[in-house]
């Protein structure tokens, strides 16, 4: 089985951001392994996803629900639809283990979301834990640390 290179990892992170910006959620869901979790902590440097509140700690069922809801006929908070935009810095590759097929990247991003006359910016760091499954990369876990995670927000409806 061919090795995953540093470039492969970086391309993967860029491709994921593009899927989210273009709203290709079916493709995006296929990036995940079935027991993966999308975690967005509430507290700065939070280390516990379970026994204190997070902004998100979602399994595949929740993520599926989240993206399917966006297109529902009676999803009033998406009339009109939100749009989002990721500007990402070149990811750091913090772990590249081809023997185990296990990889970790750390990526700084500016995330912009807009709907109606409102637009907001979130600065964040995304940590991806990736696994090689049958030769291709999959997301095992994704952690999104908002720089201002402890601030009061209005609706954040799409996915940073």
């Amino acid at each position: 089985m061919s090795d995953i290179s540093k470039d492969d990892l970086i391309d993967f992170i860029y491709a994921e951001a593009r899927m989210l910006d273009e709203g290709h959620y079916d493709d995006w869901l296929k990036l995940w392994i079935p027991d993966g979790h999308y975690w967005m902590p509430l507290d700065y440097k939070q280390d516990d996803p379970l026994f204190v509140t997070s902004l998100m700690y979602e399994d595949m069922f929740m993520l599926k629900l989240r993206v399917e809801r966006l297109n529902g006929a009676r999803t009033f908070s998406q009339k009109p639809k939100s749009r989002c935009h990721h500007v990402i810095q070149r990811p750091f590759v913090d772990k590249l283990d081809n023997k185990e097929g296990h990889y970790v990247t750390n990526t700084s991003m500016h995330y912009v979301e807009t709907r109606l006359d409102e637009q907001f910016l979130l600065a964040l760091t995304a940590t991806h834990e990736l696994k090689r499954i049958k030769g291709s990369l999959r997301i095992a876990n994704k952690r999104v640390d908002l720089l201002n995670s402890d601030a009061a927000f209005g609706n954040i409806q799409l996915l940073p």
Binding site: M40, L42, D43, L50, F51, V52, T53, S54, L55, M56, Y57, D59, F61, M62, K64, L65, R66, E68, R69, G72, R74, T75, F76, S77, Q78, D150, A151, A152, F153, G154, N155, I156, Q157
Partner: protein
């Protein structure tokens, strides 16, 4: 000073609440908001925090009662004090952090005036500069101002800003049974705050959020997008058991009208009330191994059973919090302006209960009450579009007439009614009107009439 510029009189406020309807000014007017802060939030008992947020002497946390910045602090006598967060000198906030420990005294970061943790003035640097100036005759020399009254009820700290006013027990009456039930669910009879609250900003009036807590005719409509879609996906997956957590927590929002009608609503005097008299969306949560055993050991089996059989849904403690006993959650609706409300959603750990209960509570909080929650998105959209729609001059009155008896209601006695009634919203406005106007001036006309 500001009061002299506020022109509304008590009878104007009275005229905004008419049994089954309220004038939209109660949600949109800046003057009404100012009066709410000055009268309603001063005359009632408002939630501040939980004692476990300030466990040790000198521990403090900063928050707001309405628009008033306050500090909750553990004094050297171990009591919890609530002080206005304002230096009596030039007004700088004394505590700047969200939380911390100040030791035995507070020190103003601007000119180093210092105060005991009950607010009393301790020292002023270069004090001889005030000799003979008459400073000692001003209230500024007395230290940080404490709120009018504080009550620690089973760990929950409430404050009344006004010095004089209704007693704590007289204000809350039997509604305290919901807090009792939440605390009794701990085998040790004790709760502890679990982490910081979610902070969710809403561009709408605070009363919309409070009303929505007992609005049982909206879930199957406004939450169809989240709860309905959850059910659809689950079926498509072949209805797997055990259900995914999202199904247990979100899907019950799609329950039919009959479920909510049968659930029942109880109202207490002074604006308090709750949904889920007979059952609720929290009734069918799966049991957690070891929990009932721990409860039985602490309370005996029959008392444990009666504590856990109570499945109240949302309890409103008027004016501005909602408590969910079965999942140990409290939401604080903090009014920042007529069209801006900060919602802080806290969760609590049941001391001596299995951790799985806390995990479910944390999950509920993030799934339903986070700014990233799809259920939250459904609700916020309704409130914010209502705030905009109310600017329409087409109709000036907001209707609260569902299951209105057709004549003036008596809110001075506890009542249990059909779970889809809007009586609890009317009950809130009855209390709103009374606690707004008790300390407001009457118009000159009626003052003259009263004198005659």
């Amino acid at each position: 000073m500001l009061e002299t510029r506020l022109t509304l009189k008590a009878e104007d406020i009275d005229s905004m609440v008419q049994g089954y309807q309220v004038h939209r000014d109660v949600y949109t007017s800046n003057e009404v908001y100012q009066l709410e802060m000055r009268h309603l939030f001063a005359n009632t008992w408002v939630f501040v925090g939980h004692e476990s947020q300030t466990p040790k002497q000198g521990d403090y946390f900063t928050t707001q009662i309405g628009n008033q910045p306050v500090i909750q602090v553990r004094h050297t006598d171990n009591g919890v004090k609530v002080l206005h967060n304002r230096c009596p000198h030039k007004g700088t906030k004394i505590a700047l952090d969200r939380e911390g420990n100040t030791g035995k005294f507070f020190r103003c970061p601007y000119h180093a005036w210092s105060f005991k943790t009950d607010g009393c003035l301790l020292a002023i640097p270069l004090k001889n500069g005030y000799e003979g100036t008459g400073l000692d005759k001003n209230e500024n020399s007395k230290g940080m101002k404490a709120v009018g009254a504080v009550k620690n009820y089973r760990g929950f700290i409430f404050a009344r800003l006004a010095k004089e006013g209704i007693d704590f027990e007289e204000f809350f009456l039997d509604s305290l049974s919901s807090i009792d039930n939440m605390v009794d669910r701990s085998p040790a009879g004790k709760l502890e705050v679990a982490g910081p609250p979610l902070r969710y900003m809403h561009k709408c009036n605070w009363k919309m959020l409070v009303e929505n807590q007992t609005d049982t005719c909206h879930p199957m409509v406004a939450h169809e997008s989240s709860a309905g879609t959850a059910k659809k996906i689950w079926k498509k997956l072949g209805s797997p058991k055990p259900q995914p957590p999202a199904m247990q927590i979100i899907a019950p929002f799609m329950s039919p009208y009959a479920f909510f009608e049968d659930m029942g609503i109880r109202t207490w005097p002074n604006g308090h009330g709750h949904t889920g008299v007979n059952h609720s969306i929290h009734s069918d949560y799966s049991a957690i191994p070891g929990y009932f055993e721990a409860m039985s050991k602490a309370y005996g089996e029959s008392r444990a059973k009666s504590i856990l059989d109570e499945n109240r849904h949302n309890t409103i403690y008027f004016p501005s919090i909602m408590v969910k006993g079965p999942i140990q959650q409290l939401r604080n609706f903090i009014p920042l302006s007529p069209d801006k409300t900060l919602v802080e959603s806290y969760i609590y750990r049941l001391i001596d209960a299995p951790d799985e209960l806390l995990a479910r509570t944390a999950m509920y909080n993030r799934m339903i009450n986070a700014p990233t929650s799809i259920v939250g998105h459904d609700d916020l959209e309704m409130y914010e579009r209502a705030q905009e729609g109310l600017m329409s001059d087409g109709i000036e009155w907001v209707n609260l007439q569902r299951l209105y008896p057709g004549k003036e209601e008596d809110f001075s006695k506890e009542a249990v009614e059909n779970g889809t009634t809007e009586r609890q919203m009317r009950n809130q406005f009855d209390a709103w009107r009374r606690f707004m106007t008790t300390t407001m001036p009457q118009s000159t006309v009626s003052a003259i009439e009263a004198a005659e």
